[in-house]
Symmetry: C2
Subunit: 218 residues, 2 copies
């Protein structure tokens, strides 16, 4: 059965691939699992029908028969559990790859999301110019720590895994802040992720929604 995910009908980022459906599309492409996409408007996301799938009124969701999931981390983990290619077979290496998924989502992403929100939520506040550098510093701490751990390795722990997929996508949300440029190894890490054929296919598919060059069904 082909699973169906949801994605934004109109993209906040104009198809730059920063919305969380991109992560799930990339995971599908890595494992070679076809998928359908149902687009939802911002209004629909907050309505009862969508909230029945996603209690927090967001995208992506995942539907496959009777199973409904939400949260990009959980969806990607589910895909990785049922297909080879995203998590190592070795039990310890697998546990470490899962650790990086959680690290991306719970330790690295929150300050980056905060930094992303500040220009929208506080740009007209008198404190904006003073608070922005405070948040940049919080992101900087995490990027420095991550850069230090990555060193000159290609991926965070051996072969490419769902942990790298998630971390690359989380780091991409810091694009445009100038902070990634302080760590050439992180820029190269992101570039390695973006160079993967599965990434390219996923990126083109999500962008096509906004350029009108693709049907909804892949």
């Amino acid at each position: 059965m082909t699973p169906t995910i949801t994605a934004f009908e109109s993209s906040p980022d104009g198809g730059q691939g920063l919305a969380r459906d991109m992560r799930v599309r990339w995971a599908f492409e890595e494992v070679g699992q076809p998928y359908d996409v149902r687009l939802v408007s911002f209004k629909e996301m907050k309505e009862p029908a969508h909230r029945a799938l996603h209690p927090f009124g967001q995208i992506p969701t995942y539907e496959e028969g009777d199973l409904v999931l939400f949260e990009s981390g959980a969806i990607i983990f589910h895909i990785a559990q049922h297909h080879g290619g995203l998590l190592p077979d070795d039990a310890n290496a697998r546990a470490r790859a899962i650790t990086w998924m959680f690290a991306a989502l719970n330790t690295v992403e929150p300050p980056i999301v905060e930094l992303e929100q500040v220009p929208y939520a506080e740009h007209d506040k008198p404190w904006y110019d003073e608070r922005l550098p405070m948040i940049e510093d919080r992101v900087r701490v995490r990027l420095t720590e991550l850069s230090s751990r990555l060193g000159d390795a290609d991926w965070l722990d051996g072969a490419f895994s769902a942990g790298d997929l998630m971390m690359v996508m989380v780091l991409r949300r810091a694009e445009g802040t100038g902070l990634l440029e302080e760590h050439p190894n992180l820029l190269a890490y992101i570039a390695r992720g973006e160079a993967r054929p599965a990434y390219r296919r996923a990126f083109d598919a999500q962008r096509a929604v906004f350029t009108g060059k693709s049907p909804m069904r892949r």
Copy 2:
């Protein structure tokens, strides 16, 4: 082999059980797995020896033979994978329970942590009185959505799971803000978690570190 976790040598919360080792202790207690605890100082957490275990210089870590993990979500998932009692056997129910783990960590916890940090980081700023309610509103949105989904159920999806364990611990971090009191069903949900014998044992063990009534090794 008995796994070893790390916890704060001196508690920022004086043993209220809000540090992230409490989640892991609770998981161990639910499945009946003995564990050792190594206490680390704030200084030690940022030194190379600890960063070799945890690249972001935090607690908890998990060591079991050659395996080293960090991130409370990943550690609890690892425990749940190797012992019964924290995740359902049914594949779909299991995937949904994992979804709630990610939802707790990536959707509910970040605004609560932000709300927790503001009094420390910004209490002396002129904007404090205006910004605090903005963050409270972000937490309020998530609590309202969660309360609506929980309804009058005991747990988020059928039987108690690692998803509930994580959500209860994340919600507890909002204690003292007055926001939980807006949702009696969330207060009752937290109370159900705290009433579990495994929770009590874990809570007493972490508190004993700070009252000096317990050896480090359990």
